[in-house]
Symmetry: C2
Subunit: 172 residues, 2 copies
Amino acid sequence: MSSPQLTPVSYVVLGMVAEGATTSYDMKQKASRSVGYFWNFPHSQLYAEPGHLVELGLLDEEREAEGRRRRVYTLTAAGRQALDDWLREPTSEQPQIRDAGLLKLFFGEGLSADEVTELAQAQEEAHRARLAVYETKADTVTNPNHAAVVRAGLLHERTFAEFWREVAATPP
Amino acid sequence: MSSPQLTPVSYVVLGMVAEGATTSYDMKQKASRSVGYFWNFPHSQLYAEPGHLVELGLLDEEREAEGRRRRVYTLTAAGRQALDDWLREPTSEQPQIRDAGLLKLFFGEGLSADEVTELAQAQEEAHRARLAVYETKADTVTNPNHAAVVRAGLLHERTFAEFWREVAATPP
DNA sequence: CCTATCATGTAATCCGTTACATGATTAT
DNA sequence: ATAATCATGTAACGGATTACATGATAGG
């Protein structure tokens, strides 16, 4: 008997199903335009994870009779409960900023000032590009919870674009 | 024949060895007070990963003759080269903000305004606590590259503390 | 000397990624 | 019809986490 833990991805799946996504491809499309921006994962997880959740009784699965015969998922009462419980649980894990650019800056004693500037400029550009995406999104998102998170992403990208601009101007 | 890729953790190890860490415990101590704040991992990786790097010829390993007989690592020329190459490589991977609080906000349609406020206040407090840590660090760090990254962390925590303060005040 | 804690690892497991494969639909 | 692409998975592998275990050192 196996009792695997629910991971953040589990809750992403539960959350997207609660929002009306019914198939893995559906989730994939949805994620790629929203939550995937700040919490990314390959599509294979969106085919594997619902299987686990079905085993745990948190999702129901049906197969289409025709065509692709794809798996169609719906939330069970237990699944809704698990999602609600999680939403209300205090969140203890420290958020991590896993940013390879920051890592390089951290260990970049061996770089010349010019090389640091080069790194910083590339990073600034990447953050500005992402910022532009969020700015567009901010105008189109209707779900207020999604909008709030887009705003967080926007503020984050702005902060980091500015940070890297300063680094480029005055390398350590 | 196996040719495993170098992961970010590989470079964290190479970087820390380059900075003078010689044993796994040494790295663990160092990481817990610096890079671990924004890129965390369990200590077991700091015992396993150097082994891989030795196999790849990027680290040399010696055993102490006495006492704990612990493994003492030093950079090889190839290891130094691998670190330098990585530092100069363009960084393509999109940084991810894997923040469970943001996930909950994103999927938090089922929460009442009060519950969102509660979540937001807890998040704000957590970010302010982390902010305080970075502010202390900013005064003590001597390595200018480390200082720059501390500043990034500081700006990030400030941004997010402020963001959650707004969410708490006007929940979506 | 005895105990608590520090320090150093190993083992097992599972999650996440990469790569592969194939069936269905759409476009030409 | 045929090719291209969309959609739906599976398999294999390795990295990361959790849990366990034990030896060394320091403090009383």
